[in-house]
Symmetry: D2
Subunit: 454 residues, 4 copies
């Protein structure tokens, strides 16, 4: 997924690096592998980035050192730690004849290999496998025949295939770009008159800014000292916003493309209650992303809402492993069952999805060990069966339990008394107020665009 952020201060009175820091902190749920901030001080771009969480990569000294510019962009990258985490960290800084440019990109370019090959034929070399570097190259190429970077970006929209919501910082401009399908969210806000772009509105809120509007699919928004300009691609495609953003990725306090994430999840819970009613004593969610849907299920069903699990608040750090053979302990360290709530009760447990099934099985076992009489699992999305090509790292097709088992078999495997998945039809109704169509290829195998052969 990744999260991006950009801020531009005309007057220079905002500390753009500090704002970026706090905004990235609010977007941390979108990526824990690496993070970075690039700042533009009179055309000179400085960048600090590394593997790790925002509060680990940045400290007061680093922030002070970067401070001072007029514009900053930031990035958090999705994924777990790898040896290349430092290399792959963004923003990427590129040097063009017209000056320095920095790019923070979220999404996935599906024709990256093809584009890279073409550039290679022309003598290009790459230092990473990241899309951001590819895009920086493409811009360099396009820029040769363009009058402006925004013109280059408009041309690029016809060539780049896939998902990209990005912020670009050139010597005098801050630019937000969202692909024509609008796979990933991207929005615009302001703080005291200074413009902000962010993957999610919660980042704008967290620094005390105000949400203005979403960037439209296929739109390019440019901020300069002169003000804001918008450009729109003439490419006509049906939009395909990732439905999983509402189901799982985004923070519940974000409003994306006109729809509250929290409400979408509550709606999902309500539809689930209609599709799969059951007689029970308590409705509980798996923290954190199942909680909202559980609340919706409770409201619709009239079954009281309760708490089944307490999550350790101190998550998100490099972590010592439990001794081998203690897989179960690994779950307990993060999640403890609230026995007093559960004992002797028939539980409706709501989760956002089932991937491999092992975590669900563990969690249901914990409930039973704590004395639950029945456990009915309700999943606030349809069976997850197909790979995502647009920026969601999921297990390969083989590992997805829904590809190997029927719903009944899964129910038995995870040890539930009953199992219900939200229907695709109802899922698509949950982001009330959303003005876009969705990509839900991970449930159907049909994607908004053709996918190059692997």
């Amino acid at each position: 997924m990744s999260g991006v952020f950009g801020i531009f201060t005309k007057s220079g009175e905002l500390d753009v690096v500090r704002e970026a820091y706090f905004a990235l902190y609010a977007l941390q749920h979108r990526g824990q592998q690496s993070c970075g901030i690039a700042v533009n001080d009179k055309g000179k771009i400085m960048c600090h980035k590394d593997a790790g969480l925002v509060p680990d990569v940045f400290n007061e000294m680093v922030v002070n050192h970067l401070s001072g510019g007029q514009c900053a962009i930031g990035h958090v990258r999705y994924g777990s730690y790898t040896p290349n985490s430092r290399t792959d960290a963004q923003p990427l800084v590129a040097k063009y004849p017209k000056g320095m440019v920095a790019i923070a990109h979220g999404g996935n370019i599906v024709n990256a290999d093809e584009l890279r090959d073409k550039l290679h034929e022309n003598g290009a070399m790459f230092q990473t496998d990241s899309d951001a570097e590819l895009i920086a190259y493409m811009i360099a190429k396009e820029r040769l025949g363009s009058n402006s970077i925004e013109e280059s970006l408009l041309s690029l929209m016809k060539v780049l295939k896939g998902a990209y919501s990005m912020v670009v910082m050139s010597p005098k401009k801050l630019i937000a770009v969202r692909d024509p399908y609008g796979f990933r969210p991207l929005c615009m806000g302001q703080k005291d008159g200074h413009y902000i772009f962010a993957s999610e509105s919660c980042a704008i809120d967290s620094i005390g800014g105000e949400f203005i509007r979403d960037i439209e699919p296929g739109e390019i928004v440019v901020v300069t000292n002169e003000g804001v300009k918008s450009y729109k691609t003439d490419l006509k495609v049906e939009t395909g916003r990732c439905i999983f953003e509402s189901v799982y990725f985004a923070r519940p306090d974000s409003v994306i493309d006109g729809s509250s994430v929290h409400n979408a999840r509550k709606e999902a819970g309500k539809y689930l209650a209609k599709e799969y009613p059951v007689e029970a004593d308590l409705v509980c969610g798996v923290p954190d992303s199942g909680l909202d849907a559980a609340l919706g299920y409770s409201i619709e069903s009239g079954i009281p809402y309760g708490v089944a699990f307490i999550k350790n608040r101190y998550i998100g750090r490099t972590f010592i492993q439990p001794t081998q053979g203690e897989r179960e302990t690994a779950v307990k360290i993060k999640l403890n069952v609230l026995k007093a709530s559960i004992e002797g009760k028939r539980i409706v447990l709501v989760d956002d999805s089932i991937v491999r099934g092992t975590t669900s099985a563990n969690i249901i076992k914990m409930l039973r060990d704590a004395g639950a009489k029945e456990v009915h699992l309700r999943v606030s999305s349809p069976p997850f069966k197909h790979p995502c090509y647009f920026g969601t790292d999921v297990d390969s097709r083989d590992k997805l339990i829904a590809n190997r088992m029927t719903q009944d078999e899964i129910c038995k495997y995870i040890g539930a008394d009953s199992l219900g998945y939200l229907s695709i039809e109802n899922m698509l109704k949950t982001p009330v107020g959303c003005k876009l169509d969705y990509c839900y290829g991970c449930f159907t195998g049909k994607y908004p665009m053709d996918i190059p052969e692997e």
Copy 2:
């Protein structure tokens, strides 16, 4: 508050240091200033401790380095970072003629100055202001005329005044000690037959152990290779378990002294609904400690339960400060209002306590800015007016808003439409099943024991 932990493995087949690590991680909410683990390997005690959170102070290398012993104790210390955080970190390791001893202590000794003076008169010197060092000294003193360390500890119970729940590790014993009033919780569990002591049962759960029972006030439990022995002081006092453990300190999944913390808070919410009913559209809690009481209020009142705030999941780290004059931002970084839930609604907001009133005022303003029509604050404890002498660091008397203002004045100050505090009478009913009497001096100014003049 502080949190303590101890584990003893007869056979040596458990990695006691790793277990202690995960247990402390589960007790992290009881103290973020410093932490440490001491391990006993055939009478030789090694200790690693420092300022910082558990996952910051310990890494795989340190854990491996300590690993190997038969018994370990651990500690997390309450408070924010100070220059002396490293020095004050526990466990404290002491060398006696009979061998090495380690102590992890939670609580506060009220006659510490007096005891220290007496020791000074006899030629003692101290290296810290910590109670743990004082207690180690007292044990050394008592040990001269005693047959065993447990005998010394029993003698000490007559001299030490105040709150102490501690674990002590001697060359061949693991000992749990709880003061005669039982101010702070302390319980016993087992994992695969190996004994465990912990401040809260959630620590036992988190490592896959089983709760056995609470240590009784005035009880000393000794674990050796020969098994478990219990000793009880002949001091007769009325117990005074800190009621704030149920209201705020403890993790909701802990069961302390026979009572579920989650349930106690839910009960508090129910009583609040009876004492201060109001017509409203939604009941919301301030995360995390207000959530359970909000659920109780909702159940009792029939007003739907909802979510008003999303808390950033990545808390608990050294943190860059927002630029000056942005106090409000500091709250927003941690807590964002969920506008979609709130807009146009009459909100019952439930919090566990009001200390200085500024945070409450900020939070209520956030709700109003998000479009709440009315905000009724309900507090799941009585007005907080008096200092605590038993291990809770609270603002001095002057800063407590309940000392300076009437309930109506507070309501106006924080900008609520109405304000209701739980009565003392009902609060005392909330820890259903608790077998002890309570200390609730912070609400009444009357304490279970005389407090030495300051």
Copy 3:
């Protein structure tokens, strides 16, 4: 200057990363700003690099993590810490259609701007200002029409102007390249039959290897599983080995281009004694690079050799600054005068060069304060007047004291009783046995090649 290293193990029985680590440690004097190691494990290149000294950037965990490959290259970069130190660190890893390549380069490309401009015209973008990235690009370009990487490198030799001694690691080859002028040293060795390249022979010694020979100017040496091949450019130029390598840069235990560095310095001292004899009691060197020449002066003059200064052995780390206005202290922290040696004596002090003159003035003052009756400064190189374009970072022309003052004026400024510089003529005789001609443009302003206008 920078230092480079490469090692290739046919059989895989050497831990190439560990060898690279120790070799870089031996080359640390060539660069303290940043360092890195890249390792090739069956075509997959992993790289770790960062700002800092070798023992700070690498630890056991990192070394273990990288270990396992067949070939490794390493780099230490000259210069002091800057915000871009991490970005500029080498080796640089590039991805070509033929696979991954890593480059560690020392020197300076004088036509870099021109070459970069040409690539820009063709759509290239850069991420750094480093020559290594430019060279990686150039290789990518050349590689399109070449049959092998060594063919590309031979073509490049006609285009790249300036100093470069580099090691290149491709999926199956380890390649050493030295520019046709041979500005910077580069040599070849072996350890247990495994081939090694290094900037200086001391790196080969330090890992227990054996020196084979120097790489010749304009030579490309390729190591593969099949053995070693050498290619030579047909470009005919007069060689221009940097004379300052002998005077100052290289470690005295290195033998470069057939000449012992230690002996060259001793020779310089002898010539100095002939050129500038003086009646005195003791000959002392400024540690460390003046010591060898002092010994030579002593031998030639018959004046006893002595020790005037003790250097703190714990140098080379990030360092707290003395309080302001204590410039003099900054010198004393590193260098303390040995009063007992000096008192009442007439001292011949030998240093390798005078740059701005302030350090010399400080040092001479220290001798006088310690009771030296006379101080005669002898400099083992000619007056330093012109910039270096071939990899030596020197103060700009204005700051060089020899540009602003006559020899007499300098003598007065630094407070010496007499001052003598080694003549160019004699300097050129000092690297006895060296088979190359020299670049000594920093003394004459005449360089072996035309320098592009700045």
Copy 4:
């Protein structure tokens, strides 16, 4: 050995912490295990200490944080890293009824066990095995019946047996104490009128101060706002300054007890040349501590002085280990032979001592491999045969090669052509100008005081 430092500024115009930092940096050769600084700010003592070298334990932030007081003491501790390095770090801070006290101690108390036992009998407990803690205790005890801390210290001198050169900081005083035998050096200086104490004069020099005089054996010097006072014990003993300070420990630029360390070593070399003359081409020292004696040997013998080994300048850090079975490499990483100097020559190699013989054997082998025709080892101290009880950590008696072999056997074992040790008689003449008698028990087994049975 350890190194201590203290500084007192009447006016507060010196940054005492920064001065202590640089002074400890100059004393780093006396201890690399741990270090620390304690500062007294109006009676409140803050302390920062940890395992590691001075520049690793302290950074700008820590120094700024401590800065501000009137008086500071510092300590570097001898030894290699152990799990208890942090715990054992000094200064030790003690709290007495009269206020806080900090102690930095170098040496070894030989009756420590006995004294600790007595305190234990009285109810004392200890947290470390360090002498500093014991001394702090003893002071607390003595202070009860004394009028001042200096009076307590004078009483202590009759009880403490062994070596101690220490600085003590009480709320209003800075005190230097040297044991009646004067085992370890301790001297006094001033900087701009502010008083300084240090283990060696090089620390005073390094911060731009001036040496005043040595603290006498059995003397206590007290600095307050009122000035300096000196007290002398009435205990009459023959002094026993450790001769090894001159031979090996101290920095050559220090002057201890009236004698230049550099000169003492040069003298040792001269006597060696008289005792063990040999026909040879070059005299070389083993860096760093053999260099001065080699110079003396060269002067006396007329054989030219030369350089045989280059030592890596970047020492003193946590260090990756070479792969197993590469013991020899471990030496080469630190020390490289200068082949060009050595080849074909008959070498006199001067070292300060032989402990186990393995290093000497390695070094001589390196010379032979480099082409030395003959290697004659000259040792600037007598055969090292007995343990030291006064602060020098040496290998146990069994490992000392001089206990197991005759001089001839050793010569054969290390592979030298001839071997000569300095005689005791001549060694005692080397510290020219020293006003004290020496302890040289490590050569004779006879010590200035009785040693308690082990």
